[in-house]
């Protein structure tokens, strides 16, 4: 039995190792499993059977309302937002070849944060529904600004990283300043947004993010060969025929779209975009085809686990999920780091 399956056409080629396929399948089924676990827990405990019947529209009225209107959208939103952040982080770490890269390095988080805090401070008359719109606008503007400032006959990883550091420092200075001068109510609202939460998830939010994630991830996988080659360095990648600048632009765009829409809907959730790709790497290795899927599932499970812990551990208090992303993810990641301690 061959240890790998090869899928190849003129445009792309994947080699799936059997092991990584199995791990990816396990991760995927865990995510599906989460869709049952998530709706089970809460004030009214439901049995798996009740959840499944409610999912297929045969449950009792109350159960169906709880599952379909409240817990399921929340579970799904945490899963897809986590997946979006995980893949976005993986793309960025691949492009800038730095293990510390995360969606904030292209200004997505910083831009979104400034826009959100400005909205909370000055947009008092406007409905809170416009907050995601403000955030995504800020994210996109700042990401474009970062890209253009880093452009000098092309983008190099190091310049992108450094410009990103500068921009995000200025953005976080702006955010802190706004919070310090604003009223206590606005400050705690802003702090909530900066921590990130999946409160009040609606099917609308879920729909938007699912569309984004399911359109972007397959295309990212098509570009995985380019990402793999980029790991060898600029010159080698160019020599091997990678259209470096074009591919970078497209991949950055994906990463911005993924992180930007996730941040707009759930706030500046930290840690997922940074650590999910590393968790995935220790599980399935460094080639970007399988890594994309594994990053998506790791991110999804990370944010789901964080939200689950946040809303059940201190019940009836519902804590923002962003508080627990590191609380749930860091110990697991440290365990993986310890297990791989001889190979890093």
């Amino acid at each position: 039995m061959k240890p790998a399956i090869t899928v190849r056409s003129s445009r792309f080629s994947f080699i799936f190792e059997k092991r990584t396929v199995i791990i990816n399948l396990i991760l995927f089924f865990l995510a599906v499993f989460a869709c049952v676990i998530g709706p089970m827990l809460g004030h009214t405990l439901l049995s798996p059977y009740e959840v499944v019947t409610a999912l297929f529209g045969n449950g009792s009225g109350a159960n169906e309302f709880i599952v379909m209107q409240s817990r399921l959208p929340r579970t799904l939103l945490s899963l897809v937002a986590g997946a979006a952040l995980g893949v976005s982080g993986m793309i960025l770490q691949g492009i800038v070849r730095n293990p510390l890269a995360a969606p904030d390095i292209i200004g997505v988080t910083g831009g979104g944060a400034v826009a959100a805090v400005i909205f909370l401070t000055y947009g008092a008359g406007l409905s809170i529904q416009f907050l995601p719109l403000a955030a995504v606008t800020g994210s996109l503007l700042v990401a474009v600004l970062t890209y253009f400032l880093a452009w000098q006959r092309g983008i190099t990883p190091i310049r992108l990283v450094l410009i990103g550091i500068g921009i995000s420092a200025i953005m976080s200075a702006g955010t802190t300043f706004m919070i310090v001068v604003s009223s206590a109510v606005t400050a705690s609202q802003a702090y909530l947004w900066l921590t990130g939460s999946v409160y009040g998830a609606s099917w609308n939010d879920v729909g938007i993010l699912v569309t984004v994630v399911f359109l972007t991830i397959p295309v990212t996988m098509v570009f995985s060969r380019s990402l793999n080659t980029q790991q060898l360095g600029n010159d080698t990648a160019l020599g091997l025929g990678v259209r470096l600048q074009l591919d970078r632009l497209i991949l950055l765009l994906f990463s911005v779209i993924l992180a930007g829409s996730a941040v707009a809907l759930v706030g500046a959730v930290g840690f997922v975009g940074l650590i999910a790709p590393h968790i995935a790497r220790t599980l399935v290795g460094k080639t970007h085809g399988a890594l994309t899927l594994a990053s998506a599932s790791s991110g999804a499970l990370l944010l789901f686990g964080a939200d689950l812990a946040a809303r059940t551990l201190f019940y009836p208090v519902d804590i923002p999920a962003g508080v627990f992303t590191a609380g749930v993810g860091a110990p697991f990641f440290l365990y993986l780091l310890f297990r791989n301690r001889h190979h890093m």
């Binding site: 410009i163 500068g166 802190t176 590393h278 590191a326 609380g327 993810g329 310890f338 890093m344």
Partner: protein, 337 residues
């Protein structure tokens, strides 16, 4: 030889210029503020101190401590950032990667919320303990395994531990909203209201660490060529890295303990120092110290004047002043590590 000399001379000249800038910033830090004080008056407050004059008291008990603390902390943060980037060979590293800021903040928040500690001096010791503990955990985690302390391991362990502490802090703050405003201001960092009583107990450690760091330039030059090469050249890389780690803890730990989380300097000043000083750490380290001190003292002066009578948090001001400049030189082409 000639060419080398010209370069050396240029570096010395730039260094002297930057030192003069620092002196000017220090002087303006004493003169400008809520109550403007003339230069003669400021000098007189040192030569013939008069307890009944407000201006003398302001200079001696407010302005001077601020300027001194700004200088020491700015230099300390910048040098520890430089060491951190050299040790991890990562341009995105800063002392906060060691978990120092988040460890300190966690201890501060625990102290404030659960034990209602409020005196700045006790909070300072708490912060220092938190910083040291976090750094120790990161260092141990990063050193496990066959190859010892590798850049990737330390960076990842640091990111995880740092996030873990931040998560705990946020968890506490979610429950205790009243404490949020105080803590937020502390998070942004401030040099106001700090007295020399906070600096003096840690000053001997800071000075020792700083001098050791400045003497390590040659060893660091070798270390950044790579672990294998450094080992092959006979360097005890374990010892060097342990020394660098200890210096980072003392410098960054005491800085965060005294003024709070000023993140920008430790991350960005090392790059600016390399822009001026090239690739030789015997130059980069002193340049970092001067530049860091200049930025923090200068930013403090600006922070007092921008929205009088309120003050802008110093961490905000350093980023607003230093950020655009950093982006400008990043476009001019920064030296890699």
């Amino acid at each position: 030889m000639k060419v080398a000399n010209v370069f050396q001379q240029k570096k010395v000249t730039t260094f002297i210029l930057l030192s003069l800038l620092l002196v000017m910033a220090f002087a303006s830090s004493i003169i400008f503020g809520q109550t403007p004080i003339s230069a003669e008056e400021a000098v007189r407050s040192f030569t013939s101190f008069d307890q009944n004059l407000t201006s003398h008291i302001v200079v001696r008990y407010d302005r001077l401590p601020r300027a001194v603390i700004g200088t020491v902390v700015g230099a300390g943060l910048a040098v520890s950032g430089t060491l951190m980037q050299a040790m991890t060979r990562n341009p995105m590293a800063s002392p906060s990667i060691f978990g120092i800021n988040n460890g300190a903040i966690f201890f501060i928040v625990v102290g404030m919320v659960f034990f209602s500690v409020s005196s700045l001096v006790s909070l300072m010791w708490l912060a220092f303990a938190g910083a040291a503990l976090a750094a120790l955990i990161v260092y141990i985690l990063g050193s496990l395994g066959r190859d010892g302390l590798t850049p990737v391991k330390i960076v990842l362990a640091g990111a995880a531990i740092s996030a873990l502490f931040q998560s705990y802090t946020q968890g506490i703050l979610v429950f205790d909203e009243a404490g949020l405003q105080d803590v937020l201001f502390w998070l942004a960092g401030s040099v106001s209201g700090r007295t020399l009583d906070m600096l003096i107990p840690v000053l001997p450690f800071i000075v020792t660490a700083m001098i050791t760091a400045l003497l390590m330039g040659r060893a660091i030059n070798l270390l950044v060529t790579g672990d294998d090469i450094a080992k092959g050249m006979g360097q005890n890389i374990l010892l060097i890295k342990a020394a660098m780690g200890a210096i980072v803890v003392v410098l960054a730990g005491s800085s965060v303990a005294i003024v709070g989380a000023v993140g920008f300097i430790g991350l960005v000043i090392p790059h600016i120092a390399r822009f001026f000083a090239g690739t030789d750490y015997r130059w980069i380290l002193p340049y970092s110290a001067i530049l860091g001190a200049f930025l923090l003292v200068g930013a403090d002066v600006a922070a007092r004047l921008v929205i009088r009578p309120q003050e802008v948090p110093i961490g905000v001001m350093t980023a607003i002043i230093g950020g655009p400049f950093f982006i400008y030189i990043a476009r001019r082409g920064l030296k890699s590590l």
